[in-house]
């Protein structure tokens, strides 16, 4: 178990190191980093000072390590718009995003998983068809279209809810619905196919053939086994909590991390973009790590298996 943990941790660290490397390479490829990080209108002597402070006249690999070292110390550069620390700018937006993504995650899980299980257990029934049609629609309707349709109906036509902003909890309803409904559809579709896969296995037929009540077969054998792939996709959803609302935040003018990212990209505010990139990578990697560990609990076989199923 210890060794399993160690390999997983090493892989997670490697992935984060690759993201840092990616940011470094892209940053170097896109122009003079001193100019970019300090901003185009920074005085030349400040840029020079920055250059020598960051050792940008050193060989590239020395720069690479000092870049790495700076990031390890939490120094992620300053926003070129207001000169504040990028990491401060990003962290103060996180609560707003979580206020959307956490309730949305709850909706996804509470709607998607039961719907998927129900559809799988009543395969080809009317309910299954309806769930599947909604699930396919949830995948093919982009979130900005869904969001705008909700605005059109509930804000423009009915006038029940505000269409954007963050003044009260009522402003959050439409964006949470947009995020939650789309994700619930994806999760329902996934849960259904995982369940159907498990229900087709010989051990399920064996269990029901030897007289185990169907309810017990489902709860005792089918659900735990179908949970394994489902946990992966929920882990992915947890990994996107911080930045999974890029599009929806833009639709509803919600001042979260995603909105910040879009504005930063449009303004080429690289320090902020880089900071969000790292933050997302770390959340994602941590979520994957937790999923891997959960796997170990759910399925003892996988503790020894070298990679998770493709």
């Amino acid at each position: 178990m210890l060794r399993f943990l160690a390999t997983r941790l090493a892989r997670a660290a490697l992935t984060i190191a690759m993201v840092v490397t990616f940011a470094f390479v892209v940053l170097r490829l896109s122009g003079d980093p001193a100019q970019i990080i300090m901003g185009a209108d920074a005085p030349p002597e400040a840029v020079d000072a920055f250059r020598s402070a960051w050792g940008l006249d050193e060989p590239i690999w020395v720069q690479y390590f000092s870049y790495f070292w700076a990031i390890l110390q939490g120094d992620l550069g300053r926003s070129m718009r207001d000169g504040r620390d990028a990491i401060m700018l990003v962290t103060e937006r996180i609560p707003a995003t979580l206020a959307l993504t956490l309730p949305a995650l709850a909706i996804k899980i509470c709607l998607g998983i039961p719907a998927g299980i129900y559809a799988a257990l009543h395969r080809n029934s009317l309910a299954d068809r309806v769930v599947m049609i909604i699930a396919v629609a949830g995948f093919t309707v982009p979130s900005f279209v869904l969001g705008l349709l909700l605005v059109l109906v509930f804000a423009v036509q009915l006038g029940w809810l505000p269409s954007g902003g963050q003044e009260s909890w009522r402003h959050g309803i439409l964006p949470v619905m947009t995020l939650g409904l789309g994700g619930a559809a994806v999760l329902a579709r996934f849960t259904r196919s995982a369940m159907l896969e498990v229900l087709g296995q010989p051990y399920i037929r064996t269990a029901s053939a030897k007289g185990v009540p169907w309810r017990a077969v489902v709860t005792g054998h089918a659900l735990p086994n179908a949970a394994i792939p489902t946990v992966t996709i929920i882990g992915f959803m947890v990994g996107t909590l911080i930045a999974g609302a890029v599009v929806v935040e833009s639709v509803f003018s919600w001042p979260g991390v995603g909105r910040l990212l879009v504005v930063a990209v449009a303004n080429r505010d690289l320090a902020v973009v880089q900071c969000i990139l790292l933050l997302v990578a770390i959340t994602m990697v941590c979520a994957n790590l937790i999923v891997d560990l959960l796997y170990g609990l759910l399925d003892p076989r996988l503790r020894a298996a070298p990679r998770k199923a493709a």
């Binding site: 990616f22 982009p142 690289l270």
Partner: protein, 292 residues
Amino acid sequence: MPEAPLVITAPTAPTKTRRKAPPALVIFGIGWLMLMLIVALLADILAPYAYTALDLRNRLSPPILLGGTWLHPLGTDELGRDVLSRLIYSIRTSLLIAFGATIIGAAVGTSLGFLAAHFRGFIEQAVLALVDFSASLPFLILALAVLAFFGNSLLLLVCLLGLHAWERYARIARGLALAAGTQGYAAAVRGLGASPWRIYGRHVLPNIASTLIVSMTLAFPEVILLESGLSFLGLGVQPPETSLGSMVGYGREYLTRAPWILLAPASTIVLTTLSVSLIGDWLRDGLDPTLR
């Protein structure tokens, strides 16, 4: 790192038995996709106006269904530009990007997968680490970061979207090539003295083509959604060029006064992704039950 436990089955051999006719929804999907292709190919002939042509006397004119005139069947926007014409050109741009990106993704991923399977060792580890890397970041975030660093151009956008899903093709190509190489036709052909080019190009590629094509039909709608998402945010296709996503993003400003500007491209996106998904699911069930 040992290989991923990818389930391998032999590719379906060409059979002479008649396939069941596809279900109605799939026929609809194929029909819609054909229509989209025709529209994209014949955009110059079909579009009644140039997509930038202004008609200032008929600004925000509604479509026929809402009491408009045949002059602008789907209405006009606030500059009097014909929505139908813009829609037709947007379909062309969006499909072009989606096709280009899907093909780039498949080519890059398959090549890397073959490289990993052929050389094993360090190269394989490097490819697998890259696969882990791209699976660990939401693609939209990665794409936004690259756009922030490099600015924006149509070529960059296509290449960037091409990187979407490359790791899926790489995984599939590597898994199937390894399976064929250990005790299959590929090992046999290698034993004949064939060069790697011949082994992979002439034998392995045609044999795994059906699996790759199914993956492409599954990735295609995702690329359309990504492109339209980026364009909606104003970070994808830039004006004066127009795509389905940028039309929605633009029409959003007139949601209350002229919802048709937004509804026409939005429903086109939904119908197109739906069609390709339906076809992809159907192909997967028919051709390759190993993918899920």
